[in-house]
Amino acid sequence: MTHTLDITKEHCPMTFVKTKLKLAQIADGDILEVLLTEGEPLNNVPRSATEQGYKVLSVNHVDGQIHKVTIQK
């Protein structure tokens, strides 16, 4: 199952806190698509997710400052 999360309005560290909350709420193996902005969120969220044992499947540019990080729980 695929879930989405928009953290484009959040600032560090709430960007990854919100990502972790969503990951905790979904089932193992599910996919989470995270919309975030360039800079700190784009640098930190995929790195932190990888460090904490999640699988980052892709990072894609969506539009303007917005990127989509696809994470598998």
Binding site: P13, M14, V17, K20
Partner: protein, 271 residues
């Protein structure tokens, strides 16, 4: 599940960010019920850090009122709290730090007659007391009730602590009986460096949070001691004794005991 509010997510963000705690660990902390016995030198930092961490229910047992001489180390109380019951002063400070915490006050000293009744409500017990009779009482009550607990003791520049979970060494495995009254001086007789209380109490608080979240290795079957003069820390292996009078194969203690206290401690109560 995981119905944290925006405010809680931000408040606990530094826990949630930790791989080993996360949202799941914070949920366990929120559901935990911890009993802190003694709102003094050790109980103060323990209760403060557990409250800040978001422990859902904190019980505090203390029959004393705040005395001017407490304030050198008992940082949960303030000058304005002098003569207030310690449980009330502690509750007010906790709720100022974290209004999510439910505080249960027991304005009494722990005794053989009330110990089991009080501890049965809790998941973990913290010994923050200052005298041997109560330390043995906490140990025996926790063994009888099958409760994990953290032992802590401080004097002058030194501290010691260990953690018990059912099946590991207990206080009596290490120290079979209390020393005779007045043989070992208490803090009120010998003095204590205030910051030592914070050093030991925060170790105890960390052990509680590790137990709740299941992170790391507890100080079970290990006695941690330190001397702040040299800042030497030592971990000594201790073992569960088969012949222990309370947790051994054939226990000889079947009811709780109120041991005699040192005379000056009795005199200081109710001050």
């Amino acid at each position: 599940m995981f119905d944290f509010t925006e405010e809680e997510l931000k408040r606990y963000s530094r826990h949630i960010l930790l791989k080993d705690v996360g949202v799941e660990g914070q949920e366990k902390i929120r559901e935990a019920k911890v009993l802190v016995i003694g709102a003094g030198g050790l109980g103060a930092p323990v209760a403060l850090y557990l409250a800040a961490a978001g422990v859902g229910t904190i019980g505090i047992v203390d029959g004393d009122v705040v005395d001017l001489s407490n304030l050198q180390r008992q940082i949960i109380h303030s000058t304005a709290d002098i003569d207030k019951p310690k449980v009330q002063s502690a509750k007010e400070t906790i709720q100022a730090i974290n209004p999510h915490v439910k505080v249960r006050e027991y304005k009494t000293f722990l005794e053989a007659s009330n110990a089991l009744d009080i501890i049965k409500e809790y998941d973990f017990v913290v010994d923050g007391t200052d005298n041997f009779p109560v330390k043995f009482l906490i140990n025996d009550a926790c063994i009888m009730a099958g409760k994990p607990f953290s032992h802590g003791g401080i004097l002058r520049f030194e501290g010691q602590t260990f953690t018990h979970v059912p099946g590991t060494a207990c206080y009596r495995c290490v120290f079979p009986t209390p020393p005779p009254p007045n043989l070992v001086p208490t803090c009120s007789q010998a003095g204590v460096l205030g910051a030592i209380a914070g050093m030991l109490g925060t170790i105890q608080a960390a052990e509680v949070l590790k137990y709740i979240t299941g992170v790391g290795e507890l100080l079970t079957d290990k006695l941690l001691t330190f001397n702040a003069k040299t800042m030497d820390f030592r971990k000594v292996a201790v073992k569960k004794r088969e012949k222990c009078a309370i947790c051994g194969d054939q226990p000889t203690i079947h009811t709780l005991i109120d041991y005699e206290q040192a005379a000056c401690d009795l005199a200081s109560h109710g001050k």
